[in-house]
């Protein structure tokens, strides 16, 4: 049996100095198989982006991994020296970010940046890299790649820039592609195209995709599995079908109800009145939960039969 493209077990990440460290990711466990598309869904501050940055070893100086382990393609990458990180990034795992307007270097042409990405691992030589760059641009659906590669980022639309970034990310054929809200800053029609492009790339190249979003409707359209995060913990995980059609955690249900959908009246209940404040170790969702009762003063573990797990005492 092949090793998963990415496997996180009990990963914890904290920010801030040692004495005043604040844990923002608590014991996250997940796996992404080759060619599989996993979505992490949650609101801002839920720790979904931090999890991704931890995999990239790009937590910055303030953040660090304080527990658990990460394996990429079977290889332990929990703690790596800087030189090994350089080997890791781009070649084994690549990441695209939310805002394509700022993610490209304004001082260089897009072709040059793509070529730099291609040549940073297994340099095929300048000429070969340029022709490869044009092929990549064509592959991500950019017309007239030769002309486009000579242009600067400010001459391209947002959708086109995100395509260029995707081309750069897959330039060195990584095993895993992490996309952190890659469509949030784009217009809806462009958003649909970018999602379709990511889906096609995974299907044709076998790259595993970790897709981070706050929109459950969007990820349910094309991801195989979904993990819902809340306050640094996975509160529900399972196949997209299971989560979407039979959500178990009240937070997942809230996320599903919150997105307006044509043909369905908005179910917009006023926020639940704040229950008595929970103590240490209570369920994180306690104060927002309508179902909370005495059991919920103890945080539930992620549990369930089969592959559909949830962390709620009320879930069936």
């Amino acid at each position: 049996m092949t090793a998963p493209a990415l496997s996180l077990s009990d990963l914890s990440v904290a920010f801030g100095p040692e004495i005043a460290a604040r844990k923002v990711v608590h014991g996250v466990t997940l796996q992404v198989m080759a060619g599989e598309k996993l979505a992490i869904v949650g609101e801002s501050g839920s720790g979904k982006s931090v999890t991704a940055l931890a995999v990239m070893h790009q937590l910055g100086r303030a953040g660090r991994i304080v527990g658990g382990s990460m394996r990429l393609d079977g290889e332990d990458i929990t703690s790596l020296p800087e030189s090994a990180c350089h080997e890791l990034r781009g070649r084994k795992v690549a990441m695209i970010f939310q805002d394509p307007m700022t993610a490209l270097n304004p001082a260089f042409t897009v072709g040059r940046q793509l070529v730099d990405a291609i040549r940073s691992h297994d340099d095929p030589g300048r000429k070969a890299a340029w022709s490869e760059a044009e092929q990549l641009l064509a592959k991500v659906g950019i017309d007239d790649p030769r002309r486009r590669s000579g242009q600067y980022p400010h001459e391209l639309s947002g959708g086109m820039r995100q395509r260029v970034l995707i081309a750069m990310a897959i330039a060195c054929r990584p095993r895993l592609l992490i996309a952190d809200e890659p469509t949030t800053a784009l217009d809806v029609t462009v958003q649909a195209q970018v999602v379709a492009l990511l889906r096609d790339i995974c299907a044709s190249s076998g790259i595993a995709l970790l897709f981070i979003s706050h929109n459950l409707d969007l990820v349910a359209e094309f991801c195989d599995r979904i993990a819902v995060m809340y306050r640094g913990r996975i509160v529900e995980s399972g196949s997209a079908e299971a989560i979407f059609s039979a959500p178990r955690h009240p937070y997942t249900r809230l996320l599903l109800d919150a997105v307006p959908r044509p043909g369905r009246p908005l179910r917009t209940a006023a926020p639940a009145p704040l229950a008595e404040s929970p103590g240490e170790g209570a369920c994180d969702y306690f104060s927002r939960c309508r179902l909370a009762d005495a059991d919920c003063h103890v945080r539930p573990a992620l549990r369930g039969a089969g592959t559909h797990l949830s962390a709620c005492w009320r879930s069936a």
Partner: protein, 321 residues
């Protein structure tokens, strides 16, 4: 190592350790307390505080007369009777330093006061009326001002008008006042440019549009919304500019165009000591130079501390001259 985390998640996580919005000034006392909380701010406060105290209390301090020519004590080295020694004319160097601080600090502070009020006025007005003739005219004027190499013009103008007092209407301006006015005016364009950029960004902010929808007038919006919001990044530069003002004053006095003798000034003392700088009477040229250095570094330290305290996001190197 060099990574700077920018994603929303990570940023909110790091928020605990680093404030992202400038906190509002809660009075001068609060500001001083926060400055003293940083190491460089504390050093800066102590230096600037001691110098100001010395300058203000000079008449009441048990000092020799700074103008008294004690020819029998010419060029005495530092010692018990003359703390820092005497100069070529037998004047007490320590007393002259303390009295010289008055001119230096006053000129430094007042030039910046002029530059600041002018710069804020022009910057706020032109930023608020962006895209109108008001902005074009004001910025054009500032461009002309900014095309002036400050020091050369100061030298030339003082040269042209002479170092004597100048009658300006009912006012008789001593040379110090001329320098203050001149350097202050020349400080305006730099500050106005910065203020303009900041005011422009604020004027485009939605909360300003909201104020207009409430029917608030331009003046009210400029004074109660825009000005308070651009103040702290500008304030950061003030301290540094005071230091520059002090250096300019000392330089002008050094070449004889600044504070006129017999009034003691640090630059003037160095001019007197020029020939001695190469001899063994090292103290004559050392102390006034050190005094300038200390004063300027005090203000620069304060400036750095202000930057950390008031505006953690902007980290520019301050104005260069």
């Amino acid at each position: 190592m060099l990574d700077v985390v920018r994603s929303t998640d990570a940023a909110s996580a790091a928020e605990a350790s680093r404030a992202r919005r400038p906190r509002p000034l809660s009075g001068l006392a609060g500001l001083v307390r926060r400055l003293a909380g940083t190491r460089i701010g504390l050093v800066g406060l102590v230096i600037v505080g001691l110098l100001s105290l010395a300058a203000l209390s000079a008449p009441w301090l048990p000092l020799h007369d700074p103008l008294d020519l004690m020819m029998e004590h010419r060029l005495e080295p530092p010692g018990a009777s003359f703390l820092l020694g005497t100069d070529e004319m037998g004047r007490d160097i320590f007393a002259r330093l303390v009295w010289g601080a008055r001119g230096s600090l006053m000129i430094g502070v007042l030039t910046v006061a002029i530059g600041l009020s002018g710069g804020l006025f022009v910057g706020t007005l032109s930023g608020y009326y962006s895209g109108t003739l008001v902005e074009s005219v004001l910025l054009g004027l500032m461009d002309i001002f900014a095309a002036i190499p400050l020091l050369v013009w100061a030298i030339a103008i003082v040269g042209i008008f002479g170092t004597g007092p100048v009658q300006l209407g009912p006012l008789l301006l001593p040379n110090e006042a001329k320098i203050i006015l001149l350097v202050g005016l020349l400080f305006i364009p730099g500050l106005a440019r910065v203020a303009h950029g900041l005011a422009l960004a604020e004027a485009k902010a939605d909360y300003v549009a909201a104020r207009r929808l409430q029917g608030a007038g331009a003046w009210s919006i400029m004074t109660s919304d825009i000005l308070p919001n651009i103040l702290s990044p500008i304030f950061v530069q003030v301290s540094v500019l005071i230091g520059i003002g002090i250096i300019i004053e000392a330089s002008l006095s050094f070449i004889g165009l600044g504070v006129q003798p017999p009034t003691p000034s640090w630059g003037g003392m160095l001019a007197d000591a020029r020939s001695l700088a190469f001899s063994d009477e090292w103290w004559v040229a050392t102390w006034p130079g050190l005094a300038i250095f200390l004063a300027v570094i005090g203000f620069n330290l304060l400036g750095d501390a202000l930057r950390t305290v008031l505006d953690p996001r902007r980290r520019d190197g301050g104005p260069a001259l």
